[in-house]
Structure formats: C-alpha cells, structure tokens
Symmetry: C4
Subunit: 258 residues, 4 copies
C-alpha cells in the first residue's frame, strides 16, 4: 500500500450530495458533530479510507484488531443526499493532507458532489455558554448565501489559518470544480478531549444550511459514549508521534517496533 486507498462498500446513486466532514481536531468538534449525525440518522457505511500516512500501528479495540481509518457514510435526504466523512485520525505527514484530500474529492465527485463542508474547532481560551460559529468559504457567493444564518463570516479576528485536512479539503475543492465551506465552532482549548457544546453550536447552524433536522438532545450523552474511544485513540497517536520525533535512546526504539 503505497498510497491512500478508498475501499468501496456500496455503490449507490446519490442525488446532488453534499460532503460533510468531521475529522479529529481541536476539541474534536468536527468528529463529534458529524459522528452524532451519522449515528442519529442511521446513515449507511459507504466506504473506508486507509492511508500509509496514518500511524504505523493497529489498535486493539474490544480485543480485535482495529486499523486506523476514515469512514464515509451516506444518508438520503428529502431534497438532496448527504455523504459524511468521519474518522479515527488525520495524517501526521504534511504532504499527505493533500494526497488524502485529493482522494476524498475524486471519490465524492463520482457521486456528483459539488459542495464540501468541513467542521472544525477554533480556540479562544475562554469558556462560554453559547459558543460562536465562524465560517469561511472558497467563494463570496457562499458567504452571501448563508450570511443570515447566524454564522460569523468574519473569522479573521479569531483565526488566520485552517490547518490539516479540514483546510486542505476546502482549498482543493475549488480545483475539483466544487464549492467549499468551513464551519468552526468556538472551543476553550483547555485540555479537554471532546467539546459537545461547540459541536452542538455548529450542528445548529449546519442543519439550517443543509436542511437536516436531527434532534440534538442526545448529543451530550452520545459524546460521553464516544469519549473513551476517542481519548484512547488520541493518547496512542500522541505517543506514536512523540516516538517518531524523539531522539533514539540506545537499545530502546528498535525494540519498540513489533
């Protein structure tokens, strides 16, 4: 496996689908928000994405081997269909964000997808009751379309970049003839694994925009359930990254392999 692969599980026809992406990141806002949608909508698994640029370990989960992956789900809506992308991880390799984003966009393009929304968090260092939601897009047109939705399309006062796949996906979407939007939920940035408040704030705006109506009442409960798994994943990846970057201590690192 020399490059990122997408293993297709189903080949449905989809009606003008929008891709909604929630990968791990700050406060796990995107991961938690989109994971909740997938769960509540009972969305069907569409495909799995594996990459040599994910960490070089497999996780033992419920005593079985779990390989790091991203997962596509789909849901049939009334007016249009939805593709969701969630996952265990992002790549640790800067250039691989481009490869993986390209693969994702090529894949959803086959379903006629023309719009991509990624969800992430932004840190403010303060805890608020009602987190704000920032938006930024590839085109002025999108901003115009949604500026009355309560999304703050003047993000520059808080953020100047979107790092990783959540950003590169949007940036590249334009090259694939798509329109891209990134929604950022305010999160304190304190060492918390998941921030359901931020996820909820983003989901409220997102649902308005794309025409979904999922009850958000069970979000906190669901986040609690996801918490242990996400926390474990994070800890393992942090360890792996520290190992990859650390200097070798004699007789130690090589033994670590295998």
């Amino acid at each position: 496996m020399k490059e990122t692969v997408i293993i297709e599980l189903e080949k449905p026809k989809l009606k003008n689908p929008v891709l909604i992406v929630g990968l791990p990141g700050k406060g796990n806002v995107g991961r938690v928000a989109v994971g909740y949608l997938v769960h509540q909508l009972g969305a069907r698994k569409l495909a799995e994405l594996y990459s040599p640029f994910f960490f070089h370990f497999v996780m033992i989960h419920e005593n079985l081997i779990h390989m790091l992956r991203n997962e596509f789900y789909y849901h049939r809506g009334d007016k249009r269909d939805f593709i969701f992308l969630i996952g265990d991880c992002q790549t640790y390799d800067p250039k691989a964000h481009y490869e993986i984003s390209g693969k994702i966009l090529e894949y959803v393009a086959k379903f006629g997808c023309k719009e991509v929304i990624t969800i992430a968090g932004f840190e403010t260092g303060r805890i608020v009751e009602k987190p704000s939601v920032l938006g930024t897009a590839t085109d002025e047109e999108i901003v115009k379309k949604f500026e009355k939705s309560g999304i703050d399309f003047d993000p520059s006062k808080h953020v100047s970049t979107i790092v990783g796949t959540a950003g590169i996906l949007i940036g590249l979407s334009k090259l694939y003839g798509m329109k891209g939007l990134c929604l950022l939920g305010e999160t304190s940035g304190f060492p918390i694994v998941t921030d359901p408040n931020a996820a909820e704030a983003v989901l409220e705006k997102l649902q308005k925009i794309v025409g979904l109506k999922v009850d958000l009442k069970k979000l906190k409960e669901k986040v609690k359930e996801m918490h242990a798994f996400i926390r474990k994943l994070e800890t393992l990846q942090e360890e792996a990254m520290r190992m990859m970057k650390s200097k070798v201590k004699k007789s130690e690192e090589l033994k670590y392999i295998g």
Copy 2:
C-alpha cells in the same frame, strides 16, 4: 530501486498456505520462534524481500556483503502448506510498514493464502517461568475458533497497540480478503536481545493452532547460535538510526557516508 521488491526464487504450487511471520521486535520473540521453525523443518527458501526503506548500509558478515532483507520460506505440511517470513529488520519509516505489508500480502495471495499469523512480543517488566501468550485477530470468528487453545484473547489489559509490520500486516490482511491473527509472547522487556522462553511459549500455542509438530528441545541452543548475528544486526541498526536522527556535527556526518 524506488519501492520494495520481492525476488522470487521458486514458484511452487502451495496447498491452502498460511503465512507465519516473525520479524525483529521486542525480545525478538517472533524472529526467534519462526526462525527456529524454518530451521527445524528444513523449509525451502521461496523469495527475498528488499526495500529502499531498510537502512542504507550493507553489513559485512563472514567477510562477505550482506544486504538487509526479509526472507520467505515454504514447507509442505500434511493437510496444508506453510509460508514463513523472517528477516534482518523492519523498516524505520512509518509509511513503509504499509508498503512492505502490502507487497507481502499481494505476494502470498498469489499462492492462495487466506490466513496470516504474525508473532511478536509484549513487555510486562517481570520475569516469569511460564510466559503467557496473548492473541488478537481481525475477526471474532478466529477468536472463537482458537479460544480453547490456551491463548489469552483478552489482550487489552497488557497491550493496546501492535506497532510496525506485525500489526499493519494483520490490519491490512482484511483488505486483501484474508483473516489475520497476532500472537504475542510475554517477555520481560529487560535489555535482552532474544527471549527463547517467550518464543517457546508462543510456538507451543502456534503449533496447536496450525497443526505443526516441531520438537522445541533444541530451541535454546539454536537461539544461542542466532544470538550473535541478531545482536550485531541490532547494534548496527541502532547506530544507523541514531545517526539519522541526530543533529549533524560539523565535518562528521558527511564523512560517515561511504
């Protein structure tokens, strides 16, 4: 040589072969266990695997050039055949575990291989007379099949990941339509090069599972023979890795090359 290559030495027809993998790692449990099987069974060399992601040196062994490699062997059993994979090293490059594992699986798939077993060690920090053997698999079905073999299929209390090729091979095996099992032998983790006790414990379980009957009496003796070569290999690789990660000291590193 831009990617991992497998040089085929023979092209036998094999009967429902199982791949059994023992690469260097903690306590060299896998390397020693599978190396012993290859030796005692008089298994024939099937192929050699070379990778640009192995270290960039050749070793001088018995005064000849020895290039770092992994080796495939095969053995004809009564009911089914066996492919063994052993080797001098694993890659130092995280992404290359995926490339190398993919090449291995593609290769054995040509022989109709449907099952992969990797052997590795896990550290407990204590020395025990009778090391325990943990197991984890890609499918619940495998666990069911072997849970009465004395393998502990509840590994989570001791290990949460399997790092390197031993793990990625099992994880990827599913994508190649195979079933994967990893057996982990308990080893102290004290700075020892090889742990014949852990290897013996794993071999006892492995033989039951796959239907091999190799006398394990000569294992300790054989491990002693392998010891010097394995130790030399390890030392050289540790040095190479330290060199690769260290900062350059003026007039030093470049001179090291060649």
Copy 3:
C-alpha cells in the same frame, strides 16, 4: 494530489517568451520585483501551481479561503513575450524544489521558452543607498552578452550557493535545453520583510536586459501595499515550520490539526 500540478487558465501562443521568476526569499527581493512588473504591466494570469509540498494549511484572506500557490502571468512585448512566476511560498521540502522546478520548466517549454531568469536577494549585513546586483548563469555566453549591463558577474566574493527554487530552476534549465540567469539584489539581511531598494536595483538591470520599460516610481508605494499580505504569509509559514520541526508536547500537537 500526490504531486505538483499546474492548472492552466489560458492557452495563448507566445513569441519566444522568457520566464522571469520572483518567489519569496531574502528581503523578498524577487517576489516584490516581479510582483511589481506583473501589476504595472497588467499581465494576464496564465496558470496556477499547487503542490502537496507547500504547507498543509489554508490561509484565511479577506475572509475567504486562500490556498498557498504560485502563479504564472504573461505579457506580450514588442519583440518577445514574457512569462512571470510569482507566489506565496516556496516548498519546505528539499527534494520538492526539484519536482516543482521540473514542472515549471516543462510547462514553459510548451510555449517555446528558452530562457529563464530568477531573481533573489543576497545579504551583506550593511545598508547601502545603491544596492549592487550580482549575476550568475548557466553559460559563459550569457555572461558575455550582459557583462556591460552593470551586473556584477563575479558573485563569488559574496555568495557561493543559490538555495531553493531560484537556484534549482536555473540549474535544471540546462537539462531542459534552456539558458538560465540568476540576478541577486543586495539586501542588508536585517529583519525586514521586503526590501524595495534591492528590488528596484534588480529591476533596473533586468529591464535593460530583457527590453522592458516599466516606470519604477510607484515601486515603494506598491511594496507597502503588498507588505501586510507578505508579512502575514511569512509569519504563518514560520509557525508551521516550527510546528513541523518541534518536538511534540503532550496533548498539544494533535489538537493543532484541524
């Protein structure tokens, strides 16, 4: 996106075009000089270059997503045409300077381009009223041709290498059957973002050589306009590079993604 791509926006026929390259670097001499030409000449956008070897973030600029890129422009001259290359960044990856330079040269070769001029800065640690301009080329012939232009073709007393795309482009140009010239403007090297004096000095020489006549009076004013954007880009890239090279601090780096 596994490799650098050039997205063509127009496909004009060009008359014996010369490629003039000004990418970010010391004092941003090249970026500012060529950016000014593009602006004053009203050159048309020809193509955009994107690379997985640019940083893995998108920038938020004027509240829209801005993906890091290089841009080709063209201008029709009296006797010959011009292709300009400017951009937000260079790659951080040593080998990618070769890939990107190769892509650039293949692209301009399609227009019949036979000459490449890159512009960069060299540091002297002193502030001068009239910065000197050094030149170095692939062929003695070019030196002969322009040695009376006031360019100092004896650069060795100040510089011994040209690092990055400005250098590799010239080096590779020979392999593509082209002739290459690098012009270096003297800049103090003090922590300034842009050095309009150096840019002006180079532009004076460049215009003589290639037969352009752009009024340089508005250069300082234009540089002031570009300043904020260039400064922001630089700060973000410095942060990204520091992040990429730094050791991981627990619970920090992974959260940074997304």
Copy 4:
C-alpha cells in the same frame, strides 16, 4: 524532476565493461582515486546523473552555476572497457541510496556490465605510511580470485558495515545479476578533506585487479588541485545538512530560501 535521472551524452558500444565507483566519503578516498584515473586516462564523459535527493542548492563555481551531480566516464582498455563514476556528492536521504544505486546499475547493465567495484575509506585513527586495503565482495568466488593481490579480505576486524551508495551499490549489484567488490583504503579519520595516501594504496591494488596501468606519481599533485573544490563542496553540504536538521529560528530559515 521526481526521481533520479541519467542524461546520456554518448552511446558507445563497450566491451565487457567494469564499473568503478568513487564517490565522496571518508577521506574522499574513492572520489580522489577514481577522479585521478579519469583524469590520467583522459576518459570520456558518458553521462550525468542528477537527483532530487541531492541538496537543494546550486553552487557558484568559477562564477557559473554548478548543479550537484555524479558523472559517468568511459575508457577503452585493451582487453575490456571501463566505466567510471565520480561525483560531487552522495544523497542525504537514506532511501535514495537505493534509488540512485538502482538507476546506476540499470544504466551500466545496458552496456553489458557484469562487475561493479566501489572504492571507499575506512578509519583507523592512526596515521600509517603504508595504508592497508580491505576488500569485501558479494561472492566467495571473487574473494578467491583476488586473495593473492595483497587485498585483505578479512575486513571484519576493522569494519562491520559499508554505509551509503558505496555499500548499497554492491549489495544491489547481485540483484542485477552482477558481481560486486568493495575496496576500502585505510585512512586516519583525522579531519582531513582528502587522503592521497589511502587513494594511492587502493589504486595500486585496483590496477592489478582490473588490468590498468596508470602512473601514480602525479596523484598527490592532482589531489592538491582537486582539494579546494572538494573542500568547498563539503562545507556547503555540511551547512545545508545542518540547516535541514536544525530547529527553525524565528524569521530566519524561511528567509534563507532563495
């Protein structure tokens, strides 16, 4: 340029050529020895090798752009022909030693080359009048053939690995159906750029083996001439490597590019 390329300048037919390789390394023994042969024999340039895995700068040499490269030369002998490979540098990237070595072997295979000899240095920390020459090969047969030549084919007491292209070339040669030999000249390892004594010692043995008769009297004089260029190259590469591995100092590294 995504991978190593060899630019062919001539396409001669060669008679059973042997490849003799002298790249930069310890004491520059190989570089100096083979460079001297090329010069004294008036060998003709055959091809140039460029690689994206060489450093990302061009050197200014005699006020022209000099791109880092390796060079093939050929010389017609009485009984057989010779291909020489010398160069400015080796790659800094571990995996690229494999790519570059593979390209070299594929290229010389087209001329019917069946034998490869690489020349390098080994350090002993002592200064001797008459440096010893060690040898190690891919096959016992080669050892047998040359063991009466005064080459010490019991290198293990001094060296346990051959690092870089000098080693990987020999290791890979076997996979290309060739036989490989590495000759190592004893050098003190003190901070000297070039060691003509070691080069002379190796050349004496090499000439016997391959049937060359080049007067070695002018070697020291010639090494003096090469000294300045080699020293400059080394200093620049050391700086580049230090830069690549160092942590970024704010506002510094990015400015260094270009």
